[in-house]
Amino acid sequence: MRLPLSPEGDSPRRNFLMVKAMDTIYLDYAATTPLEPRALEAMLPYFSERFGNPSSIHRYGQQAEAAVDTARETVAGVLNCRSEEIVFTSCGSESDNLAMRGVLAALREKKGDRWLLTSRAEHHAVSKTAEQLSDQYGFQLEWLEVDEFGRVRPETVARALSDQTALVSVMYANNEIGTINPIREIADVCHRAGVYLHTDAVQAAAYLPVDVAALDVDLMSIGAHKFYGPKGVGALYVRKGTPLAPALTGGGQEFGLRAGTQNVPYIVGLAEALRLTAQEREERSEHVRPLRDRLVGRVLEEVPESRLTGHPETRLPNHASFVFRGVDGNLLLTLLDGAGFACSSGSACKTGNPEPSEVMTALGLAREWALGSLRVTLGVQSTPDEVEAFSKVLPGLVKKARSLRAVQA
């Protein structure tokens, strides 16, 4: 069944359980999304009557195992791979950790390769893992520079590769600035040198095709809650034959790569949410893109000293991100929340200690710009009215934030 997703049609909105109990308009779909009701429905039996452990011999176990296997097939179908190439994890970060730690440990054992290349604009799940692997586990780390849009250029990767390189990790789409990386081109460069490529597709999976054959990646991470699935479940694609040591040891679940009893209802939820995302990808993109474009236009037009961050075109269709000169991004978020708009920022810190994020710094932005970042991300429930209301309120709030506090370089 296909759902109408026209901006006027209210059915996609009605289809979601997210209760608008708060009178705050949600514009932070890159942080997380509400659970798709059809995914919730699919999950429910596995909390109650179908509670079995997939590893058990009896019929309860078989029922649960069948659910996990079916989910794996569904995910493999969307990713265009074999189901034994899918490992379920607890989240996108765990998938990133398994990919990086797993490949590096296995390759050091096998060939002695120690180098890891990753970009300066990665999510912390990758960058902090890379730092620890370098600081505490004896691996060599090289940061790949990004261009002014936060993009990793294939030439940059090519220049950095050596015969000691074990793994390259470059995100598919950036969570803070929405920029999409040329993953296929980077994969070509890596494979010519016989190096494995991992991509963190956590932010990308809600809107971009996640066809691993087309992307030609060796490992790819996803997390369900970014595409209307539940929090607390993710998956890692591992191309058959890729050396990988388990990061979590114990029982033989997940092909011996990720011990621990599978979280059956959440795995079922991930698969259903991903299936629907793939099925409705075009419609969802067509819904958010014009809204996003309108929002970007209005903001850049009406807020003085504002800039779009990330690539103007090669970016996620629901993603808008800005910097405003001389604004404390934290304060702007506080004012926005007070005015009824839930957004996010690259310098957001709940303890009021703003520092520009690594991504903002990697873009080469001066501090007085980098501190004033704002991320506005739309979802299937976003409406033209919401974008209009936001666009109306933002210029005044930026002005207010500037007058309350002069942020200096």
Binding site: D328, N330, L331, T334, L335, D337, G338, A339, C349, K350, T351, G352, N353, P354, K400, L404
Partner: protein, 355 residues
């Protein structure tokens, strides 16, 4: 529309209960907490805004189901409060940073943020009472719990600020505030009261001065008595406070006290207990709670330190925003840089900085 109040939260029991009471009274309450300055590398020891204190304030807000925001005030706190603290010691004073914090950070910077967020009022957990006077002006009264009264610090507020202020815990004794915290099931109910200056992190201020203004305060000089006799050498005037006995470093058969710090000659004057005490002081930059100085001299009870007992005195307004205060009895701890604060019974009249 409900009346909106921003509560300045600290992660302590008083501001938590203030928020809970206002919520119970039907206000639309929002919590805000200042992220203050700490010395680089000592961010975890600031008494009021450590990550722990902020986490606790956040838990309180969640418990009360109110929104909560942290506001970055590091730069303004450093450039006003900390700077004035260092400058004050430079000028031979014993500054009281809480006064500056309340005037410039809490009741200006934070209040501006609260108003920007659409608040009608800002509340704190201070122990004072606020009542409407016959002329429509707001009068500050000492807290019901005299032992917790904080009106001394709030003498810096103008009528304009007071019109925006709420002090919900001022009517309660501290024990009852703790009991209320338990009743409201607040995680801060058993949290110890804070005592010292927040940015000192429990440390002696002398070490802070040495680290943050090296060389500035360590100019040694003579220690003399009233007769001008040199008794020894001091380590730098900033390291001594009027009335101080311990740590002066003189061998003497009778206890000697710091009487005076003469910045012009870099001299520390000491004497015995009988020499301690003055009957008169001049205070400057006086703030009158009702906005204007009285026409002439008047009797008042005057406090010369936050912890001092009030003493009877005649307060005489002088030109240029100063007053002369003449006490009935000599006062031991009159210390330049601290505030002299005037009361008529429970009512706060005003105060200024002792010169």
């Amino acid at each position: 529309m409900k009346t909106k109040v921003v509560v300045a939260m600290s992660g302590g029991v008083d501001s938590s209960v203030a928020a809970a009471l206002l919520k119970q009274q039907g206000y639309e309450v929002t919590g805000m907490m200042l992220r203050l300055w700490s010395e680089p590398g000592k961010e975890d020891s600031n008494r009021c805004c450590t990550p722990d204190a902020m986490a606790l304030a956040r838990r309180v807000a969640a418990r009360l189901e109110i929104p909560f925001y942290a506001v970055d005030a590091k730069e303004i706190f450093r450039s006003t409060v900390v700077q004035a603290f260092l400058d004050g010691y430079d000028r031979g004073l014993t500054p009281n940073p809480c006064l500056i914090c309340n005037r410039q950070v809490r009741w200006e910077f934070l209040l501006d943020h609260a108003l920007a967020l659409g608040a009608d009022y800002m509340a704190t957990g201070h122990y004072v009472r606020l009542v409407a006077g016959e002329d429509g002006q707001r009068q500050v009264l000492r807290a019901r719990d005299r032992s917790k009264d904080q009106s001394y610090i709030l003498h810096v507020l103008s009528q304009e600020k007071l019109a925006r202020a709420l002090f919900p815990v001022g009517e309660y004794p501290k024990t009852e505030v703790r009991a209320l915290a338990r009743q409201f099931d607040l995680p801060t109910a058993e949290r110890a009261d804070s005592q010292d200056l927040c940015f000192l992190g429990g440390e002696d201020y002398r070490a802070f001065l040495r680290r943050n203004a090296p060389g500035r305060f360590t100019r040694t000089g003579p220690i003399v008595n009233r007769a001008g006799q040199v008794l020894g050498r001091h380590q730098g005037l900033a390291f001594y406070t009027i009335g101080q006995r311990k740590g002066v470093g003189l061998a003497s058969p009778i206890p000697l006290y710091v009487l005076e710090k003469d910045v012009a000659t870099n001299t520390l004057v000491v004497g015995d207990e009988h020499e301690l005490g003055r009957s008169e002081l001049v205070a400057e930059r006086v703030n009158w709670m009702n906005g204007a100085p009285p026409a002439g001299p008047f009797w008042a009870e005057v406090k010369t330190r936050y912890t001092a007992r009030e003493a009877a005195a005649v307060v005489e307004p002088l030109d240029g925003g100063s007053v002369r205060v003449c006490f009935d009895q000599p006062q031991r701890d009159i210390t330049p840089g601290q505030a002299a604060v005037f009361y008529a019974g429970d009512r706060l009249l005003g105060g200024g900085l002792i010169t």
